[in-house]
């Protein structure tokens, strides 16, 4: 029986998950592949910490080169994370003619072109299903099954930490800071949570989805990013009253030769399937011109789910080799020469419905003043509530608008914030209630 040798760089949490797949599921992989997958070598600077899996001493090494230069190793799995030495190791593996599987979205977002060009020159496969949505087979769905579609839009809940925090804020009425603290204690959030809660991780993943769906290269700095740290229990409460949930959404759209690419807290109707994606789960809703809406849901992180995606890629590479040819599907879904660089629509041009929250004195005429300004800017009001009465004190006034451009919303809010009855800067959250 044909055998493929695999080398693993990085014996952390996901690395341990990958080792467990080799140990537990060798039989089913062989029955599905018709070849044997062998984990030949595992490299990590720390090979003494107990990760809950037993690895033969002969397999472990502290020297990555023992993986990268072993001529018997066919596939290298990179699970180190970060930019360096991950980048150098991946390039070295490619140079040595090895196929590469990685879950490293930061590496792909920053050095993707360099890595994919090197792989093309050398004729090896680079796969990265685990980099977006963890165990959810979303990249393959786009590149393979749905590839006869022109995609119209992408809506993703792509960061488990944010979704866990928002879910608990929603269920418990708790505030961001206290839930974050508890999430950190439970291991659902990093000690420095910025990368997750400020939406950067979600943006890295959106960049990959936008490229795969729309065939366009996109720079991270062209993605508008807003995290969840400013969401208050009050906003969540009002959302509920209007029939919405707040989720951190990655949104990608293509229309008239432009793309939208943005990450921000978003209100979505409670009866939408995406609204029920709670806790650490992730989901992606894609809309293609023929398939219509498709939603893929599952665990976006965690050692086992991520290991499932990594090993799916290892199996795909092995199948390519068995069938007689690799590089079967372009890494970014389109041939490199067909990729374009579409302009990214500035945020001020995007069109959305908005949730507006004002903090204004409770006295006659205030609502008329605010709605008068909105009216002058041509912003239609879908509904309005002022739930509290506290004469001559500041109370929240919430207005749900019809569609408007963000430029107009910004201008109207700036003018409203000048009113002497308005006591705090006004606040808005975008609403997505179409998703088609």
């Amino acid at each position: 029986m044909k055998e493929f040798n695999v080398g693993l760089l990085g014996f952390g949490t996901i690395g341990a998950g990958v080792i467990r797949v080799f140990q537990n599921n060798a039989e089913v992989m062989e029955q599905r592949l018709g070849a044997r997958l062998t984990l030949k070598r595992v490299a990590d600077l720390d090979i003494t910490t107990d990760r809950g899996v037993k690895v033969d001493a002969g397999v472990l090494t502290t020297d990555a080169m023992q993986v990268l230069t072993d001529p018997e190793i066919d596939v290298v799995i990179e699970l180190i994370g970060g930019y360096e030495p991950a980048r150098s190791f991946v390039l070295k593996a490619i140079e040595q003619g090895k196929h590469v599987v990685t879950a490293n979205k930061a590496l792909l977002a920053k050095h993707g072109e360099e890595i994919l060009s090197a792989a093309a020159a050398k004729g090896v496969d680079v796969m990265f299903e685990a980099s977006v949505g963890g165990g959810i087979p979303v990249l393959s769905a786009i590149k393979e099954n749905l590839c006869a579609n022109n995609f119209r839009c992408i809506f993703g809940i792509l960061n488990g930490t944010c979704n866990y925090i928002l879910t608990r804020m929603t269920n418990e009425g708790a505030d961001f800071a206290s839930v974050l603290k508890d999430a950190q204690a439970k291991g659902y959030a990093e000690a420095d949570p910025t990368f997750d809660v400020e939406g950067v991780d979600t943006a890295h993943k959106l960049a990959i989805l936008v490229s795969l769906c729309f065939g366009t290269r996109i720079d991270l700095e062209n993605i508008s990013i807003e995290g969840i740290s400013k969401i208050t229990p009050l906003d969540i409460q009002f959302a509920k009253e209007f029939g919405y949930k707040i989720k951190l959404l990655a949104i990608g759209k293509r229309e008239n030769g432009q793309v939208e690419a943005r990450v921000h807290p978003t209100m979505i109707p409670v009866n939408y399937p995406l609204a029920d994606v709670d806790g650490v789960f992730n989901a992606v809703r894609l809309v293609g011109d023929f398939v219509g809406p498709v939603m893929l849901y599952g665990q976006g992180a965690g050692m086992d789910a991520t290991a499932s995606a990594v090993m799916g890629d290892v199996m795909a590479i092995s199948r390519n080799q068995l069938a007689g040819g690799g590089r079967r599907t372009p890494a970014m879904g389109y041939l490199p020469e067909a990729m374009v660089k579409l302009p990214v629509k500035p945020m001020r041009d995007i069109v959305s419905q908005y949730y507006l929250r004002f903090t204004a004195l409770d006295k006659p005429g205030v609502v008329a003043k605010i709605s008068g300004i909105l009216g002058r800017y041509g912003i239609g009001i879908a509904s309005m509530i002022q739930p509290e009465r506290k004469q001559r004190e500041a109370v929240p006034i919430v207005i749900m608008t019809h569609e408007a451009t963000e430029a107009v919303i910004n201008d109207a809010l700036a003018e409203i914030d000048q009113l002497d009855v308005v006591r705090e800067p006004s606040h808005f959250i975008r609403i997505e209630s179409e998703m088609e």
Copy 2:
């Protein structure tokens, strides 16, 4: 540029959808494939009816042999449906060395082994993503990305007609017969709806999913099938009161060397993502040992969504050829020689929670009698309601049970139905509230 020629058998609704993909999305397919796909010939007995798409007269033919024996045609798409002549045409295409794409689950359920063996002998690919879940990329997800998992269970909403009817019954409180009649008028249900509403179509699809997930062959007659025609507005109303929705679920499980394969109306908690799959949408929830739960959602039927899946398969076959080798992934997910035939667990051995509805006289001691019998059979009661009071008349009594085997439930209900206070045969619906 390399070109692949495609022949289409069957110019019905889905056929027209496929033609539209060729007409509208030639560019994106070329950019993703690096080759040109050409629809060389379309065969149908009726080539005069207007299907809303324009096809060159030279492409249309009434003679299927002009597709099947044209040496320039690489891939044949079979969209005739049914057993014959679909089976003969598919076998002929294979004999002529052509790859085949089909959406015909009935054909696969009945003649799958014959067709796949012929394809193996001839070295061609047979793909059928559109046969289950329409546009949802579920078969590929199992065969490709999730293939390092041992699957534990499958839960599927796989028939749009049933889901449409149940959704309207739920939203409107209407009864089965009137919604069915309206669904027929609107074209969402066939004139003879038996195949859909009695669960046979769902069972065909479950048979394919069980084979792909568990690596076991399963005969249709070993699948327990119960449709939705006996579901009443009363059951739907009670389900709602207990926090459940009723869906026609396809359920597959593997445990201890046995499989479960059954299709029946099922109560699922309203806050589960599957509960929000409404109208003609389909969804599949799969649970793998590493990936955990994954849900895939989309349009399970319709000309465009199905055409998307068909063309995804055509692209996959073309990519195999461009990369230098077909037959990359086993058609049933496992190598044929690794497929087994696991015993199917008899229904009396399945374990579930149950919704029990009794129709009994409203008089003191009735609930005690019923619950006494349940208690003697060791059936735990989770909750009970008797919402109406109509002294000395028959009223519904509903009991939600803890887990019990179906054998015990059947025996207990038989005994309860002997009580003189019980006025109609008792009725049960299975509950799935774990799905892991």
